[in-house]
């Protein structure tokens, strides 16, 4: 009685197909170089080339000396690798009278970046949480205005913002700059957070309310721990956005607190006769390093977070 199934199954139809037993069996054999694979990886590789080309050019150029650049073509690898452009970009390049390269701007940027990222993400996440879970009359209206705000060019808003900050008395301070970054990061971040929080089960929120948790307790103890992916997305967006920002950095700071991008602009745009392309490229790479590293480290979470937050509506 042990194997009733096997006894049963080899019944009636066996002989009709017995001759066929030698036919196809198991996995269909696949060639590694099938047409599909060639097209698939071919297209991907060509695309990858297009995306990598500029990076390659930047790296290669930054390692060449000026004479080689003037003669050779931009795609050829350096005949003689020199790190001097990097040193120069980091520590020696001049703008006006200051000849300490990007190094000064780096720390300024960090000092701007950290509070701006933290504050803007905090404000946006709390707003998104309010919008998703604690709607009140008019909240959707404010949100719609925010979303429309995402389309307004920053240049248009500079004047009103300057006036607003002046009235607040924080113009030219770090606080002012943090406020500016918070304002302009608000629309997209709020949209992300709102969608993300709305996609979390409402029951969790209800359960927490019944457990007696209030607005902040639910935010801090229930929502926050569940929202890593979306916070990663927000963090990446803000780090890249704020780090790469030039306009606000220059309008809302002073020379001794200029962020790295202003220094970069100064190096790149201060032409002493011939453009020092190698130094420019080194400076560019140095400036882009922080967001690039953030990307390489948390890129996988980025996609997950996008899937969780951006795509649902």
């Amino acid at each position: 009685m042990a194997n009733i199934s096997t006894l049963n199954t080899t019944g009636a139809g066996f002989d009709t197909v017995a001759a066929d037993v030698s036919g196809p069996r198991g996995r269909r054999p696949k060639r590694v170089l099938s047409r599909r694979n060639i097209i698939l990886y071919g297209v991907l590789s060509v695309a990858a080339l297009y995306y990598l080309l500029p990076l390659y050019v930047m790296v290669v150029t930054s390692l060449k000396g000026m004479p080689e650049i003037r003669m050779g073509n931009i795609f050829s690898p350096p005949m003689e690798i020199t790190f001097e452009p990097w040193v120069k970009a980091w520590a020696e390049a001049c703008t006006g009278l200051n000849c300490d390269g990007l190094s000064r701007g780096f720390w300024n940027s960090v000092q701007i970046l950290v509070p701006s990222v933290v504050v803007s993400i905090f404000v946006a996440s709390v707003s998104g949480y309010s919008l998703a879970n604690w709607r009140f009359k008019g909240s959707e209206l404010f949100f719609s205005i925010l979303i429309i705000g995402a389309f307004i060019p920053y240049q248009v808003m500079i004047y009103p913002v300057v006036i607003a900050l002046r009235e607040l008395g924080v113009y030219g301070t770090l606080t002012g700059l943090v406020i500016v970054h918070t304002i302009f990061g608000m629309p997209i971040l709020t949209l992300l957070f709102r969608n993300y929080f709305a996609s979390l089960p409402v029951e969790l929120f209800k359960a927490a309310r019944i457990d007696g948790a209030g607005f902040w307790q639910i935010y801090l103890r229930i929502m926050l721990p569940m929202s890593l992916p979306i916070f990663v997305v927000a963090m990446i967006l803000q780090v890249t956005g704020i780090w790469n920002d030039f306009l606000f950095g220059v309008v809302f700071t002073r020379p001794d607190t200029y962020p790295m991008t202003v220094q970069l602009n100064n190096i790149v745009n201060s032409v002493q006769g011939v453009k020092e392309y190698n130094v420019n490229m080194a400076a560019t790479l140095l400036t882009g390093a922080v967001p690039l590293i953030v990307y390489f480290v948390s890129g996988r979470l980025f996609v997950r977070g996008i899937a969780a937050g951006a795509v649902k509506g």
Partner: protein
């Protein structure tokens, strides 16, 4: 005391000149905090204005001499320098007097002019003409005539950077050189739209069309890159203000030997002088205000004037300084100023708005042959008629 000074002097010659200013100011026991913003006035100006109107002004800031800062002064945001000026007897020493006039509003002086610039210079590369086998031109007409030869030799006849103000400057130079003083003044100073639409100006536009052909193919953006084409002999010539002088100097070239300069394009005895000036926003801090005064004084100090202008390639604003060490080109300029042949620059004559409109028109004109000289002149006349 620390004093932050913003400016957009970041090219080689300019930076060296600024260093002289800073040295002189630091010698007075203060500290020059450099706030250079690279690019050009168009990048830097909004930042300066935002900061001044935002209530976080710098200690001093460069502005083009002229009408640009007028509203800031009227809004009471700029420091009154009348006392300093009187002490330094600026009214007497500053030549031409029009420079100080444009700093003067309601009888009070609000800025310190630091140099004289003039646009009307043609810079020529001797090497380039040698290579093309033509003598170095003596005026614009010869230059135009030599252009085909230069092309044949693979040399760009006229170097012109892509920034809008360069096209505008080139055109104004042509107006003064080819149209003459009367046309220049009736168009820009009196804003006479009839003259602007008239036959004299039509000739200028014809010449501009020629210049457009000569400039075709110069793929550079910045003015000093264009100058560099001349320095290296890749281009025959460039129409650029006297500040180009600084670049030649840094490159170690000698006027008359390596390069030639033709004020008024070698045709007109006149040049239009404008210049840079420093404004000093009103500050709350007593100490800083004092330092501002010191800086203003330092800027007009004869020694500083010489040191600065030598590096910058511009002319000093004082007629009483000894310029034994100046080179060939600067001497030519000084002579013209001394003769009183200095006219008002378009920066002073036109509002920034009209300037910008004119620049937009010219950059469009110089970059694309699809805009005919006739159409361009029509639009030019419109701008002049509505100019203020």
């Amino acid at each position: 005391t620390d004093l932050e000074v913003t400016h957009w002097w970041t090219s080689g010659g300019e930076a060296a000149a600024v260093a002289e200013l800073a040295k002189a100011f630091n010698a007075s026991g203060n500290n020059w905090v450099d706030g250079a913003i690279a690019g050009s006035g168009s990048t830097a100006r909004p930042i300066m204005i935002s900061r001044i109107t935002g209530g976080d002004p710098m200690g001093a800031t460069q502005f083009n001499h002229g009408r640009q800062a007028q509203e800031l002064v009227e809004a009471g945001l700029m420091r009154d320098l009348t006392e300093v000026a009187e002490k330094g007897n600026w009214k007497e020493v500053i030549k031409p007097a029009s420079l100080l006039d444009s700093c003067t509003i309601d009888g009070k002086i609000y800025c310190a002019p630091i140099n004289i610039h003039s646009w009307q210079w043609l810079w020529l590369s001797n090497a380039a003409f040698e290579q093309a086998g033509v003598p170095v031109p003596k005026d614009w007409h010869e230059f135009v005539a030599a252009a085909p030869k230069l092309r044949e030799a693979g040399i760009q006849p006229l170097a012109l950077g892509g920034q809008a103000w360069q096209s505008g400057g080139l055109f104004d130079t042509l107006v003064l050189a080819l149209g003459g003083k009367e046309v220049y003044e009736s168009v820009y100073v009196d804003k006479d739209a009839d003259v602007a639409a008239g036959p004299e100006m039509a000739k200028v536009f014809e010449a501009a069309a020629q210049a457009r052909e000569m400039a075709a193919g110069s793929n550079v953006q910045d003015w000093n890159q264009a100058t560099n084409l001349v320095i290296t002999g890749k281009a025959g010539g460039q129409v650029m203000g006297d500040w180009a002088q600084g670049e030649f100097q840094i490159a170690g070239q000698v006027a008359g030997e390596d390069y030639s300069c033709l004020p008024g394009l070698g045709i007109s005895p006149y040049i239009a002088t404008g210049g840079d000036a420093f404004y000093f926003p009103v500050l709350d801090d007593e100490e800083k205000s004092k330092a501002q005064d010191v800086l203003a004084e330092t800027m007009l100090d004869p020694k500083t004037q010489v040191a600065f202008n030598l590096k910058k390639g511009s002319l000093p604003v004082r007629g009483d300084v000894d310029l034994a060490s100046v080179n060939d080109c600067m001497k030519k300029g000084l002579d013209i100023v001394a003769k009183g042949n200095a006219l008002t620059s378009t920066d002073q004559a036109l509002s920034a708005d009209s300037q910008k409109q004119k620049e937009d028109l010219m950059t469009e004109f110089f970059s694309s042959t699809s805009l005919s000289p006739e159409d361009a002149q029509k639009r030019f006349a419109d701008i002049i008629s509505s100019a203020d």
